[in-house]
């Protein structure tokens, strides 16, 4: 190696790769922080905006209605925990029932997502930070509670889609032969359908529900992961460590799950982070069309729709859901892209 070329290598390669790694890392962590904020807002939404207080003294007892609302989102706790007596009833109006001088700590915004006030389509004010929609519901409260729905749909739909995709892809790639041929056709068939057309055809006869949205999104969005998993399993099938595992007498299922799956997991998870963004977008889009989350539940798609329906009279309704959806998608893309660069040494070198 001549001095000149050594100098060039020294000047470009190491610095470029270190720089790129740092850049990829910055994207990744920006995304993680942004996503963390959105998830936290979604999870703690009853503490941020609710028509019931966080802590209060009522009839001589201390109640924690909004705290219980939050804790009920934890899967198992939801069945065990119940709100204390008067706050549990659907018609209970805490704002008027509580004595005015009673001790109570209210959420930052003292409006629930479904609570209707007399200000219809009001512009942002001190009372309603982001204004109200056409039914007088507080936009901030709906935005915050909509985050919970979006996060849930995004994560669960992607988890389900990932499970289907990995199973199908692994079966196709590892088994090979006719199984592979048939499964590959199945994957291609599902890819051919524009997701929205197929989803809408299913939503036509499905009652709007969050679970329905999750399942339908998962059933149409698993193909990317499946193709990826198939290619990875096909590649790994002839690897030495798989041969070693086979010689050691492991069953094919055990080899696939315990030996090959861990090797493919990181890149598959990268694909899935982009899937979360897709699921959030599809949910809001479906809700915008009126086929997604039921109208009683808050969703960013519903918010966007009420802005669209009052385009001329209340355009301020449009911006909050737009920003929320964009931030969520951006967070997922940042994580996915940063992570992908971290995993892929080649991308690290070439990308600036």
């Amino acid at each position: 190696m001549s001095i000149a070329s050594a100098h060039v290598v020294e000047a470009t390669l190491p610095r470029a790769s270190v720089f790129a790694r740092r850049r990829g890392g910055r994207r990744l962590w920006t995304g993680v922080v942004l996503a963390g904020v959105i998830v936290a807002v979604g999870f703690f939404s009853p503490l941020l905006a609710s028509d019931q207080p966080i802590v209060c003294r009522h009839d001589g007892r201390v109640h924690f209605p909004a705290v219980v609302d939050t804790l009920q989102k934890v899967p198992l706790l939801g069945r065990v925990l119940r709100k204390s007596e008067p706050f549990r009833f659907p018609g209970f109006d805490a704002k008027h029932a509580l004595a005015p001088d009673a001790f109570a700590i209210w959420p930052v915004v003292a409006f629930g997502p479904g609570e209707m006030t007399d200000d219809l389509s009001a512009a942002p004010s001190r009372e309603h930070w982001l204004g109200t929609d056409e039914q007088g519901r507080d936009v901030f409260a709906r935005l915050v509670h909509g985050a919970a729905v979006s996060v849930r749909v995004g994560l669960l739909a992607t988890l389900l889609a990932g499970a289907i995709g990995i199973t199908v892809g692994a079966a196709a790639g590892y088994t090979g032969g006719w199984t592979d041929r048939v499964l590959s056709r199945v994957i291609e068939v599902v890819i051919c359908f524009p997701a929205f057309f197929l989803i809408l055809a299913v939503m036509m006869w499905l009652e709007p529900s969050v679970a329905g949205v999750i399942v339908v999104i998962a059933l149409t969005r698993w193909t990317g992961v499946a193709r990826f998993a198939r290619a990875e399993f096909l590649r790994l099938k002839s690897a030495d460590f798989v041969l070693a595992a086979r010689c050691a007498g492991n069953s094919p299922l055990r080899i696939a799950v315990r030996h090959m799956l861990p090797c493919t997991l990181a890149p598959v998870l990268v694909t899935l982070t982009f899937g979360v963004a897709d699921a959030v977008m599809i949910e809001a889009g479906l809700s915008w069309l009126g086929f997604g989350v039921p109208p009683t539940q808050p969703s960013w798609g519903h918010l966007l729709r009420s802005g669209y329906d009052q385009l001329l009279s209340a355009p301020h309704l449009i911006y909050p859901p737009c920003i929320a959806i964009f931030a969520t998608v951006l967070a997922c893309h940042l994580i996915g892209e940063g992570w992908r660069r971290r995993l892929d040494p080649k991308a690290e070198m070439v990308s600036g």
């Binding site: 470029a16 068939v189 359908f193 057309f197 893309h333």
Partner: protein, 324 residues
């Protein structure tokens, strides 16, 4: 090469059958399928005559697998049945809605190629420079904006506030009175905003993709050889590196086709654009099963043909694929 193309064609047959099967299953095995709807549970709007026609059309008195075969046979003969709503042939209804969507899709792809190629090439030639960084950041951010979000923002900011472009429908109210040149101009004028919503994610993604590919290609040996021969940088970039980087882009376009067409539903409803997506939405609102089935199948077949075209182009463009 002929064998390769023929094999690719034959592979489409099972996929096509799969597409029809999925559509049929989704609509017929569902609760509230056409038969149940026809039986009148909650669908009092259907008359006896309509039910009779429906039974005839779908052979509802026969077992499900026979129904499928009948439907498939009529589909292949391009007999898509009659709409429940107005009794018009579905093929005719789709025919008049097909062009607005196709025009949008094709022009969006064309515009995105025209814009993203110079951007990508320029960014790749000065990788790491300020232009590259601006392009990378902008396209990354733009790609994270869902199309319907962009649509809403364009409607509010450009359509309502600035009042630059119309955002409702395909034509103006006085369209019929205009001359033929002005009529075309009118349609183009109306398609600017919705067309932008179709094009910008493609531009963003293709630019990024092309740039990354080009950077890789530009570091390969044959580029160094071209430089050694004294070719200009511009010539190297466009004539030597670009064709190699364009190949993966073709595949990418094929992969993006479903999402481009699928995104048409929301955007066309949003902009009152009389295309297939809007027709799909209306048909679903009206429980118009023949239209829904035909549209779902047709869009999937269009995507299938699109990917087929991409694969064939690939075979023509890349000699290495032919021998496989």
């Amino acid at each position: 090469m002929a064998v390769c193309i023929l094999r690719r064609f034959l592979l489409c047959v099972p996929t096509f059958l799969g597409i029809t099967f999925v559509t049929f299953a989704v609509i017929h095995l569902a609760p509230g399928n056409p038969a149940a709807a026809a039986a009148g549970a909650g669908e009092a709007r259907m008359t006896a005559g309509q039910y009779e026609r429906l039974r005839e059309q779908y052979h509802l008195d026969e077992p499900v697998h026979r129904q499928y075969v009948h439907w498939l046979a009529s589909l292949v003969r391009w007999d898509l049945g009659l709409s429940f709503r107005d009794g018009r042939p579905v093929a005719e209804k789709i025919g008049e809605r097909f062009w607005p969507t196709l025009i949008l899709t094709v022009s969006a792809i064309a515009v995105s190629l025209v814009v993203s190629i110079p951007l990508g090439v320029h960014a790749a030639r000065r990788a790491g420079g300020w232009f590259d960084r601006i392009v990378a950041g902008t396209s990354f951010g733009l790609y994270a904006v869902p199309r319907y979000v962009m649509g809403m923002l364009l409607i509010v900011l450009v359509g309502v506030r600035l009042d630059w472009f119309p955002f409702v429908g395909l034509t103006s109210r006085n369209h019929a009175e205009l001359g033929s040149a002005a009529q075309i101009g009118d349609v183009v004028w109306h398609s600017i905003l919705i067309g932008a919503c179709f094009a910008y994610p493609l531009i963003a993604y293709l630019t990024r993709f092309l740039r990354d590919n080009l950077v890789e290609v530009l570091s390969s040996d044959f580029i160094t050889a071209a430089r050694a021969r004294g070719l200009s940088e511009r010539r190297i970039a466009y004539c030597h590196a670009l064709p190699n980087a364009m190949l993966p882009m073709l595949t990418l376009l094929g992969l993006m086709l479903p999402s481009v067409i699928g995104g048409a539903v929301i955007l066309e409803v949003m902009f009152s654009w009389p295309g297939m997506g809007r027709l799909m939405f209306d048909a679903i609102m009206q429980r118009d099963y023949p239209v829904v089935m035909a549209l779902t199948t047709l869009t999937a077949v269009v995507v299938l043909l699109g990917t087929l075209a991409v694969d064939l182009l690939y075979v023509i463009a890349d000699p290495r694929v032919r021998s496989v």
